[in-house]
């Protein structure tokens, strides 16, 4: 079954002095439970694509459907709630709330939704991400990689159907990157989640089911692993 469908996505940034076609007619379809890697040179439009898929930004043209609902047609508040229930994000910047401890950061989306916290799962996730000892610390006392792992844990805990990750392992060494990606994969399989991971690390991309290569806002290559 298809969980994400993007049709004819375009995103142009037009000002008096320049015109950037960050995305130029991108269509794609991602099946349930699939692990998709998006690769491409810097500035090729990867982050833009992810923003469109997550409904963070509106495309100039085209549309995105997630589980058959069009993001475009939702009211903003509706979209927020839809996003909370269905999509988890891991970003290039870690986006942790500075005044909350790592633990509180991880459970924040659950609390917002009033969901019970599965402490067992949390322990498991934190353990495998290697941050179990850091749970009571404040984010700024952690290293970049540790903060990134906390953000990943946060995305996993909400068990969303779709996880969008922008360079989740960008700050990690190659061995840890592989480890974290493996973890993402196994979680995805276990909870039947779909993953879209933007990366520039070949070895990370190689772990995906499907690779999409972007060039100047267009898909120049699609490949099965």
């Amino acid at each position: 079954m298809e969980i994400v469908k993007a049709v004819g996505l375009k995103k142009y940034y037009i000002t008096e002095t320049y015109e950037v076609r960050a995305l130029d007619d991108v269509s794609l379809s991602i099946a349930d439970g699939e692990f998709l890697a998006v690769v491409g040179t810097s500035g090729s439009g990867k982050t833009t694509l992810l923003n469109m898929l997550g409904g963070l930004d509106v495309p100039t043209e085209g549309g995105v459907w997630i589980r058959g609902s069009s993001l475009k047609d939702m009211e903003p508040e509706e979209r927020t709630i839809f996003r909370r229930r269905n999509i988890g994000f891991v970003f290039q910047q870690y986006n942790l709330v500075p005044v909350l401890s790592v633990y509180e950061n991880i459970v924040l989306p659950l609390r917002l939704d009033g969901t019970r916290i599965d402490e067992e799962l949390l322990g498991e996730v934190a353990e495998s991400l290697g941050i179990i000892e850091k749970l009571e610390r404040l984010p700024q006392t952690l290293s970049g990689g540790q903060q990134q792992r906390a953000a990943i844990a946060r995305a996993l805990m909400a068990k969303p159907a779709l996880i969008l990750a922008d360079e989740p392992t960008g700050n990690l060494d190659s061995a840890t990157s592989m480890e974290v990606t493996g973890l993402l994969r196994s979680c995805a399989e276990r909870f039947h989640q779909t993953m879209v991971v933007v990366t520039h690390q070949e070895e990370v991309a190689q772990m995906a089911d499907l690779i999409v290569r972007l060039e100047d806002g267009r898909i120049c290559e699609r490949g099965e692993r």
Binding site: L56, V58, E77, T80, R83, N95, P98, L100
Partner: protein, 688 residues
């Protein structure tokens, strides 16, 4: 959850963004100071006096300045809120990303801000009360315990400040909340990026604005000069409005103007680091137009208030010198004894030295006519549209005499050398402006005082200004027996009080005697031949002298009030400038760090930084001083000229320039002080 988060966020902001809280606290403090001034007893007195004379101008001015005040404070708050929004946008973006609803985020934001608002409010009020009390302390010190400008604590000011702040802060917080609601998630996450560096403004437009602003500046001075102060306060407001407009236009236009100049000079541009300095400035100046405009306007007002205040103060000082006796009690016409007053003062140990004496008159005007001639000449020369005899109290229209012996005891009281005079001689004591004319005319025998021989003139300060004292500007000293032929004009008691006497002692004194009243020269009535006279009640004795002047002259209050307002304004100016600087520190730090990596060493960077801060502070003060000095010159000259009806100052230009010099110096000094503080604070943050 939300409450916990907002509590933590508030605490975090208290720690991380001290500048935010400090801004809020100082804003509240300034508001309180201003309000407590508006509600002070002294200022109310000024307003009341103005409205007695049928002018509502004072009220309009109060409203005008309150509006400006509220506008400035509102701007400060809104600047800070937006600054904080920029700093925290990514954080809000995160909340949104995690699925918090916009509504919840706005609630969170408002809750946090309310906590910070309450803290600032009370911090600011406490600081404000502190500052008003300090100001009072100094005012009291300077005026020897007599002037209290502000109430130590004023409920009205307290509640008005509360109201202003709650409304301003509330409205602005909510409007930022609405802004957050409208912002897209993607914009929030990248808010800082989007907010950087707007492009260069249109050059031509800038130059046109620059020229317009110069015109505005000239017209503001012109408006004031054409019809300064006087009855029409609208002119003052018009002039001030022109100044504000002019300065704001100036800063909209000045950047393109400088840009044009710099573009021409390639050699300057590429000299070590100048290009960075210039870019830095050009980039920022677009964003700080309002700061520069506000600071500059505030400086103009500060200079205007301060110099006007000082010139009123100067006039009052002069007035006090003209009235060298601490206390003078005066009874008009028929003979009475002032001895009971003397006995009371003596018994209460209030007196150091005193003299009971009389003034005499007869219906001749030999000397008074010289006085009238001289004064008429002066009025004509200055284009003042009154006649000398209109400025002459009815009781004083004839020549006034004093006994030689009394005269010498008064001189003794004042510490002047005694004069020697024999039985067939007379002399004259007058105010300095009359000496020459009287000397000439009397010694040419044009005037004859009952065949006595004229031996000279004295013109030390002798309680002769404004009528009810030792004659109106002039007094004839005659041998003791001579007065037998004259009528009694006044019975007088002059006294010097001991150093510890307070105004309240005198109030008690006045209350003690039904027959004694404080002299109010405002309460006068006209006579048939267009002279004025004191509306004296029968059998009443009047209390006058230095102490009474200190307690009743509104100009003292005016002087203190204006100095206070001037101080507030200069604080605002410096604060508005500092705020930008300090809030920009983080970005500056990054910039300098990058330059450091690129190979600039610390010393060069520090020099660059110093140049920048110097230019930044120079920019608002230069136009402010030019405009301010122009406006202040007009008002100070007017105040100096108008205060005394008769020519008391021989040289008004010198005095005006002196006052201007002092106020400019004060402003520049306080400005430098604030700049140095800002420099030190931000150097610490940027370079360590």
């Amino acid at each position: 959850m939300l409450i916990k988060l907002s509590l933590r966020n508030s605490r975090h902001q208290l720690k991380e963004y001290g500048i935010y809280i400090i801004t809020m606290i100082i804003s509240v403090c300034l508001l309180y100071c201003f309000n407590s001034f508006v509600f002070s007893e002294m200022f109310q007195k000024v307003v009341a006096l103005f409205s007695i004379s049928g002018s509502s101008g004072m009220k309009i001015i109060v409203v005008f300045y309150s509006t400006i005040m509220v506008f400035i404070i509102g701007w400060l708050i809104s600047y800070m809120l937006n600054f904080m929004l920029r700093k925290r946008s990514a954080e809000f973006g995160t909340y949104l990303l995690l699925g918090m609803e916009k509504r919840q985020i706005v609630e969170l934001y408002i809750l946090e801000n309310s906590i910070l608002g309450v803290i600032s409010l009370f911090g600011g009020l406490i600081l404000g009360i502190g500052i008003t009390n300090i100001f009072n302390f100094f005012a009291k010190k300077i005026s020897e315990g007599i002037v209290i400008v502000l109430n130590g604590f004023s409920y009205n000011a307290f509640f008005l400040t509360l109201l202003y702040f709650v409304v301003l802060f509330g409205v602005l917080t909510i409007s930022v909340g609405i802004k957050i609601r409208k912002l897209k998630l993607i914009t929030l996450i990248n808010y800082e990026r989007f907010n950087e560096a707007p492009g260069m403004k249109d050059l031509k437009k800038g130059v046109v604005l620059f020229v317009l602003s110069l015109l505005g500046g000239i017209s503001s001075i012109f408006v004031l000069y054409k019809q300064p102060l006087e009855e029409s306060n609208n002119n003052l407001i018009l002039g001030c409005s022109f100044v504000i407009i002019c300065l704001f236009l100036l800063y909209y236009g000045i950047c393109p103007f400088i840009f044009l100049c710099v573009k021409r000079s390639k050699s300057w541009k590429y000299k070590s680091g100048n290009i960075f300095l210039f870019r830095n400035f050009a980039n920022r100046i677009n964003k700080i137009t309002i700061q520069l405009g506000l600071a500059s306007s505030a400086l103009v007002f500060s200079l205007l208030f301060l110099s006007t205040g000082i010139s009123y103060g100067n006039n009052v000082m002069e007035l006090l010198q003209l009235n060298p006796f601490d206390v003078v009690i005066l009874h008009k016409g028929e003979k009475t004894s002032l001895r009971p007053y003397y006995e009371y003062l003596e018994k209460e140990k209030l007196i150091d030295d005193s003299c009971l004496y009389n003034l005499y008159t007869t219906n001749r005007t030999a000397i008074m006519s010289i006085r009238n001639e001289e004064l008429d000449e002066y009025f004509k020369r200055e284009g003042i549209n009154i006649e000398a005899k209109e400025y002459l109290y009815d009781e004083n229209k004839w020549d006034m005499y004093i006994k030689y012996s009394d005269y010498n005891s008064l001189r003794d009281m004042l510490g002047y050398k005694p004069v020697k005079m024999s039985d067939d001689e007379f002399m004259i004591h007058c105010m300095p402006y009359l000496s020459k004319g009287i000397q000439e005319q009397v010694s040419q025998k044009k005037v004859d005082v009952s065949s006595l021989k004229f031996i000279g003139i004295r013109d030390e300060e002798f309680q002769q200004y404004d009528g009810y004292g030792n004659g109106q500007e002039v007094l004839i000293v005659v041998p003791d027996e001579y007065v037998d032929k004259l009528q009694l004009a006044y019975s007088m008691l002059a006294a010097d009080l001991t150093a510890s006497v307070k105004i309240s002692d005198l109030e008690k004194f006045v209350l003690k005697f039904d027959s004694l009243e404080v002299m109010e020269t405002n309460i006068i009535e006209g006579t048939e031949d267009s002279m004025t006279k004191l509306s004296a009640k029968k059998g009443v004795d009047y209390l006058n002298g230095r102490y009474v002047l200190l307690a009743t002259k509104v100009q003292i209050v005016l002087a203190a009030s204006l100095c206070f307002l001037g101080t507030i304004m200069s604080m605002i100016a410096c604060f508005v400038l500092a705020i930008h600087f300090l809030s920009d520190n983080l970005i500056a730090r990054q910039r300098y760090a990058v330059l450091n990596i690129l190979g600039y060493d610390k010393k060069m960077l520090l020099k660059l930084f110093e140049k920048y801060i110097f230019a930044y502070y120079l920019l608002p003060i230069v136009p402010a001083l030019i405009l301010g000095v122009g406006m202040a010159y007009v008002t100070v000259a007017q105040v100096t000229k108008d205060f005394f009806i008769i020519p008391v100052f021989t040289e008004t230009l010198g005095i005006t320039l002196n006052i201007l010099g002092v106020s400019v110096l004060l402003i520049i000094m306080s400005f430098i002080m604030y700049a140095v503080i800002t420099y030190l604070l931000s150097r610490k943050e940027v370079f360590t």
